[in-house]
């Protein structure tokens, strides 16, 4: 039987699954064990031992005929700082490139790097600094200044230069004493994105220079394909699903984690309908964004601050006091494994989750503005149009754990209530949950087995009935939700 082993090392849990690829592909078993930060191999050996029913789980014993695939977000994931010139142009391009490579964007800076910015970089210690800026033959002064600032800073990070190609030799000279990689400009002309060269070089740097430091060195040698950052695996799975299952195109995935909220979308960015004009960058069809200030546990305090307007409204609706909510946030910030113990705490958890969904979606989605011209009414779109998204998949602790649907619907209704139709969020999607958290595991297989991985992924999500207390099989679902006015 053609079986493969796929593993994902998360910051707290190491997960694994044994997948059969012959005939009708299926997940034979999945297991998880706490991640062992000091030596990641220990946790991996535990999971592998359980999957194969081994009595000794001390050493990693994967049968020789079973290929092993691995992703990891342990030890802070792949931490990237993005530097660009104009926030809406090269900085946005750099952020898109870093996010699509599976990076966690720990900081981003526009225009001139300051001494304070350098101190921030020193404190955050990113693995890679993506230095972008200028079109080819375009701006010079900002890039040269920023390169000099990085040259004198003595940071451990690899600098990846993806800016104005005309400056390559000068940048190489300035950063001669630093670890520097140079790649094609990610915005060679105004408005034209070319993130792929930077994206693939980030992956190479991850393998050559970072895998070892993240404790993956010995494991990497045993893998059938190079290990990936977890979000990259999920990104590839989203691409495989859209490519092999047309009815699952136009899908949104939100992974609500303890530290970050990740949003993935695969849908046409700009429909080009008559009367619509796009301003700014035309964003990629397959896009990931990652929000470091929206998390359910580690960054709950940040999420409570960012999400304040939404949270204040919801507290009134749910009749929960501010004091109670603040208490809950303190509790989960201190104890990352804490689960709600009463109805009121469950409401707090849901409000916090709603805030993460609300703001991560607002940032991922574009906007549209009505404008009147002598030729009549037109619509000016900025950013990505998510209105055609048909399926919304929730992943991560909270979205997998809950027993009641409807949160996503409430969030969409709240966005519409606040902004009218100005934000290009999904119009009427169906909701699903990646309840077993298998998408990252299947993402590892998306390059070598796209058809099988995509099929298994959509088979493993459970539809969520909006407002209903239980999950309902697909054929029994109603297409429109009536739980909210």
């Amino acid at each position: 039987m053609n079986r493969v082993l796929t593993l994902d090392i998360g910051s707290t849990w190491t997960k694994g699954a044994l997948v059969a690829l012959d005939g009708k592909p299926q997940c034979l078993s999945h297991e998880s064990a706490p991640t062992t930060v000091d030596d990641l191999t220990v946790g991996v050996a535990e999971v592998v031992g359980r999957l194969f029913g081994l009595t000794s789980k001390q050493t990693l014993a994967v049968p020789a005929d079973i290929p092993m695939y691995l992703s990891s977000s342990a030890k802070g994931g792949l931490a990237i700082a993005a530097v660009g010139i104009v926030p809406d142009l090269t900085l946005q391009a750099a952020r898109l490139a870093a996010a699509s490579a599976g990076g966690k964007i720990v900081a981003h800076f526009a225009y001139r790097l300051t001494r304070e910015n350098i101190e921030t970089l020193r404190r955050l210690g990113p693995d890679i600094i993506l230095l972008a800026g200028g079109t080819d033959g375009g701006n010079e002064q900002y890039n040269l200044h920023n390169a000099r600032m990085l040259a004198s800073a003595n940071l451990a990070a690899v600098v990846l230069y993806a800016g104005n190609a005309a400056l390559r030799s000068e940048v190489a000279e300035i950063l001669a004493d630093r670890e520097l990689e140079i790649v094609d400009n990610l915005m060679p002309e105004i408005g034209r994105l070319a993130v792929e060269p930077a994206r693939s070089r980030i992956q190479e740097i991850f393998l050559q220079k970072i895998v070892e430091g993240k404790g993956l060195g010995t494991l990497a040698g045993r893998c059938a394909a190079p290990p990936k950052p977890t979000p990259r695996a999920v990104f590839e799975l989203m691409g495989a699903i859209a490519a092999t299952l047309p009815e699952w195109d136009d899908t949104l995935l939100i992974d609500l984690g303890g530290a970050t909220t990740d949003v993935y979308s695969c849908t046409e960015s700009f429909a080009g309908r008559p009367g619509f004009v796009l301003r700014g960058l035309c964003e990629p069809r397959l896009k990931r964004s990652v929000e470091g200030d929206l998390g359910m546990r580690v960054n709950a305090r940040w999420a409570a601050a960012t999400g304040r307007p939404y949270i204040d409204r919801e507290l009134v609706v749910r009749q929960v006091s501010h004091e109670r909510f603040e208490q809950f946030v303190d509790r989960v910030s201190a104890d990352h494994d804490y689960l709600p113990q009463c109805e009121e705490e469950a409401a707090c958890d849901e409000i916090l989750a709603g805030a993460c969904l609300y703001y991560s979606l607002l940032r991922h989605a574009g906007s549209v503005e009505e404008s009147y011209t002598p030729d009549g009414r037109i619509f000016v779109q900025r950013g990505k149009d998510l209105r055609r998204v048909r399926r919304w998949v929730g992943s991560g602790g909270y979205l997998a754990r809950r027993r009641r649907g409807g949160l996503e619907h409430r969030v969409l209704a709240a966005i519409r209530g606040e902004t009218g139709s100005a934000r290009l969020v999904p119009e009427s999607p169906d909701y699903y949950a990646d309840a077993d958290y298998v998408w990252p595991l299947l993402g590892n297989l998306a390059t070598d087995y796209p058809v099988e991985a995509a099929r298994l992924a959509v088979e493993h999500v459970v539809p969520i009935e909006c407002g209903a207390a239980t999950y309902v099989p697909e054929e029994k679902r109603i297409s429109t939700c009536q739980c909210l006015p």
């Binding site: 200028g134 004009v277 301003r279 037109i378």
Partner: protein, 143 residues
């Protein structure tokens, strides 16, 4: 790269695209590297593009009569954004009604535009002036 880079576009809610395309083709043929932002361009979009592309000049068109409203504060915004010295040209049907040519020019020069062009002006002459102005500023202020 000896060709000077210029940013071109039609400002505000104006969708007149024909003249914009003619200007793009003409200036490209006359040795300029044209970053054409098309129609309905905001002040910040002009400035963003000028910064990233290291442009020497921004050429603003306005055909629908609201040019005065759309262009107000353009130079001030350039100063705020750190591109104080970028060359600013404006041209088109800049105001509604029959305002004398001199009065229109005066208005836009006071806003900080370096030159003002109106229907019937000679494009060859405009290109010559643009080249001379850029040479005089010694390089590209946005670079």
């Amino acid at each position: 790269m000896n060709e000077p880079t210029i940013v071109l576009g039609v400002i505000g809610s104006d969708c007149h695209s024909v003249g914009n395309k003619i200007l793009d083709a003409f200036l490209s043929e006359h040795g300029f590297r044209v970053v054409n932002l098309g129609v309905m361009v905001s002040q910040d979009e002009f400035i963003d593009a000028a910064i990233e592309a290291g442009a020497a000049a921004i050429l603003v068109s306005s055909l629908y009569g609201h040019g005065e409203l759309d262009c107000a504060g353009f130079r001030d915004r350039c100063v705020e954004r750190g591109v104080d010295d970028v060359i600013l040209y404006v041209g088109g049907n800049l105001v509604v009604g029959k305002t004398p040519r001199e009065a229109i020019a005066e208005k836009f020069l006071a806003m900080g535009f370096d030159r003002v062009f109106m229907p019937g002006d000679d494009l060859e002459e405009a290109a010559r002036l643009l080249r001379a102005d850029i040479a005089q500023r010694q390089g590209s202020p946005c670079r």
